[in-house]
Subunit: 339 residues, 2 copies
DNA sequence: ATGAAAGCGCTAACAA
DNA sequence: TTGTTAGCGCTTTCAT
């Protein structure tokens, strides 16, 4: 590979100076149309490709934004990433990805890595392990915008985008009650992440409103996956007073619930089953699974918009924006439909 | 935010020069243990954070590698991204993500964006639209490694990682034949992407081997999603000589097939159904879906390994590595099981 | 083992 | 409108 062309080469070829070339390339006001065109033409002719690293060093802006998530393999996060990248790209930003794999240690490293890469900001969702959040404070110490989405934390004051999880829990429970279910169980995670707690609160609230006493046996805390739903259901089926509906902490849990019920020759909605997250399979399994849409795409877009808004008024650090709270969407389907 | 500490500040504080600090920080051989420790201590004390942008400018390495995929929302790609990031991270690399959304135009922009960001290499899978591949050549012109995975292209000579798709198609068909199915249909995409063609070739090959004539009516070309499978199945069910098994171009197509069968009160394996991709729901739906595992995680890891290998011997451009071809894995499950 | 000094490619005052 | 000139923070010869 021949040595790469720089603005110096263009300047030399045109007998002008680098600053003029720079101005032409960046389309800065005070430049004559003729030289601008000449520069652009020569740039193309010489196969010039701007070096963003160099420009970042001087300007202090990389146009890269760090995205820190538990895992790109979790569909919800994949959708948020998709949406973030798609939207931010149109504003000239790229996405530097870091996965924590639900580890606090890795999360700390992630913050460091992204900061060292001089990202212009970080959009993050916490790992399940995260209790202490001081590593996130470092982002703000560097004066860079930090936006937290979905998995938030009380100790961290920061702009955030989330969904109304309590309402999600409420909606789900209310829906089951409306369908005539009375003994409603809930299989969820033992983790202390706020959103799961809030959903659970919504569940309790709906039951209380309906004047139904909360049966402790109906709350099962396990893993948030197919296995968790499966095992939890077996526990529930052993009860003298079996539930007539089960809420899964997410759609995978719900899948496990359906599987376990099936083994006992029970097909929803005989026992109603509902999940959270609207995974792309949920609509298509048989019976189709009732669930809550968490608006991952919308969430990505809102994060991006928030980031851009903060970047615009460049005294980011000071102002704490109001959290954006998206409304969960109930998707009633066959698995809860009593006709 | 106070001005950030640089190696200059550390040098001044310790009354040594920046070069010494740099050496200490980078753990370069010719440094006395005592000064190394002193530097490290002072660095910590002064809250020093290295600026990778600056070091990239001099060293010419960013330790960022560009990942260009159709969409992070497609689970296969999400898994590859997950795997890539996870593995490469342990070697000090970060991932800059670019999605083409199946658009050629966007793919070209992606290559430019990544190159301008001075990535150390690009790992890519082509968009469905991609016929001409000249934009990929630019990566190599800059002397940077380009690794193509899964969706490859005949015109592009480059290190690649793929799976044996013809064999995947063969395996699927052979499995159905072994289960006693005879009239095997195939619902796939009209797109000319190589992998789909190859799978189809495998299907034909297996039928030929079994001495079964290929019935043109049994090949349906539609969209590669649930809807495609659903519509395709309705077409197939109208045939006088109905198929007794249907292969779906991927697991979503298979989901659509099952859905359509269900509406006609047919439950697999009465008509056998099998897919490709082993989506994470496939194992858990009822009946569980037979499919092919495409080893997304493995593919990510192989790409990463290949990249590292090329980077090591730094005369990358010259050598074309042998393609890594992963073997597809048949996962026979209930949807095809004739007992 | 350490220091001095020249850049990497670009931006952004300040001058002209 | 264009040119001059410092850097940005770090790496890396070449000296010492």
């Amino acid at each position: 590979m021949a040595k790469k062309t720089t603005i110096y080469d263009i300047a030399k070829a045109l007998n002008i100076t680098v600053s003029t070339v720079s101005r032409a390339l960046n389309n800065i006001s005070t430049i004559s149309e003729s030289t601008r065109e000449a520069v652009l033409e020569m740039a193309k002719k010489m196969n010039y490709r701007p070096n963003k690293v160099a420009s970042s060093l001087t300007s202090g802006k990389t146009y890269i934004i760090g995205v820190l998530v538990p895992s790109a393999q979790i569909q919800f996060f994949a959708s948020v990433i998709h949406s973030l990248e798609k939207y931010l790209k149109s504003f000239g930003y790229s996405i530097l990805l870091y996965q924590t794999n639900e580890s606090l240690e890795s999360e700390k490293n992630g913050i460091s890595t992204l900061l060292e890469a001089q990202v212009d900001g970080i959009i993050a969702s916490m790992s399940l392990e995260t209790a202490d959040v001081s590593h996130f404070e470092k982002v703000k110490e560097e004066g860079k915008p930090l936006i937290i989405f979905d998995r938030t934390h009380d100790d961290l004051q920061s702009p955030m985008v989330k969904i109304n999880d309590e309402h999600a829990g409420y909606l789900v429970t209310k829906h089951l009650l409306d369908q005539g279910y009375k003994r409603i169980a809930y299989i969820t995670t033992k983790h202390r992440i706020k959103i799961f707690k809030e959903r659970y609160n919504g569940y309790q609230k709906a039951l209380q409103e309906a004047g139904i006493a909360i049966n402790a046996d109906y709350s099962v805390f396990g893993e948030l996956n197919v296995e968790g739903g499966y095992l939890g259901t077996h526990t529930l089926l052993k009860l003298k007073d079996r539930p007539d509906a089960i809420i899964g902490g997410d759609d995978y849990v719900a899948l496990g619930i359906i599987k376990a019920l099936h083994e006992n020759n029970i097909v929803p909605p005989t026992i109603g089953v509902i999940g959270f997250a609207n995974q792309n399979f949920s609509e298509h399994i048989i019976p189709s699974l009732s669930t809550i849409d968490q608006q991952a795409m919308q969430m990505g877009k809102e994060c991006a918009k928030m980031f851009l808004k903060i970047i615009e008024r460049n005294h980011a650090e000071e102002l704490i924006l109001e959290p954006v709270v998206l409304e969960p969407l109930l998707l009633p389907r066959a698995s809860t439909k009593r006709s």
